[in-house]
Amino acid sequence: MLLTNLEQVPGKKIVQHFGLVQGNTIRAKHVGKDFLAGLKNIFGGELGAYTELLAESRQEATDRMIQQAISMGANAIVNVRYSTSSVAQGAAELYAYGTAVKVDL
């Protein structure tokens, strides 16, 4: 599966469009990690646990998007975008979307 956030796949011809594919995941903060993060909030600096958590969650959203594209018979997703929004206190939604296409390999 080719992923790009350009409008085309460089050097390859798009032969078929399948439309929008998307994947999302909503993550809540872990209480223990949140406590440590609370301490970090006094000292400042990077919250490594959160960086990892968000990266993992975003990967999961991407994987769901890829699954959807595979089920459509696509072999590439172009114009991939990410967005983050907080839906409730302490929970965030990570959302990935793009256009599934078939390219000549």
Binding site: N5, E7, V9, P10, K40, N41, G44, G45, L54, Y82
Partner: protein, 155 residues
């Protein structure tokens, strides 16, 4: 009693916060120098290179950075008067440069020569459930398409 606790928190926040920020900026500047030759652009059309095929791959980097207690306190005072809040400026600057650097490092690992259509996105992670609009930590995501040279085109 409460004032003493506040003062201790302010002092530790000031001391550790300044030290962490200085260290972080030093490492950012060092790594930025190392990746100076690596272009990140917001253009969307890939370069036309006739001799090679091009490979495209999505790369991303993220960073969650928290503000320290001292800066948060000073910023909340500044909110009364308005004007530039330099405390938050440096926080966002740090997070953004760190995320961009991580994206660049990932792209360099994939032997790319440019990152196209780079996008930077910021989200605030509120830490304090009692005060809704308080900025505790921010997450910055930088992503783009890493372009690398593929095999040579035979003519």
């Amino acid at each position: 009693m409460e004032i003493i606790v506040l003062l201790i928190l302010l002092a530790t926040g000031y001391f550790f916060g300044q030290r962490a920020e200085k260290k972080h900026f030093k490492s950012i500047i060092e790594r930025e120098k190392a990746h100076l030759h690596f272009p990140v652009v917001t253009m969307r059309t890939p370069p036309a290179i006739a001799q090679h095929e091009l490979n495209a791959e999505l790369v991303a980097g993220n960073a969650v950075i928290s503000i320290d207690f001292f800066k948060k306190f000073v910023a909340s005072l500044k909110m009364l008067f308005g004007g530039r809040v330099t405390q938050y400026e440096s926080l966002l600057d740090r997070a953004r440069r760190e995320a961009l650097l991580r994206m660049k490092e990932q792209a360099a690992l994939k032997n790319a020569f440019v990152v196209m259509n780079a996008r930077v996105e910021t989200a605030s992670i509120s830490k304090n459930s009692k005060r809704r609009n308080s900025v505790g930590a921010i997450e910055v995501l930088a992503y783009g398409t890493a372009i690398s040279l593929g095999k040579k085109i035979q003519r």
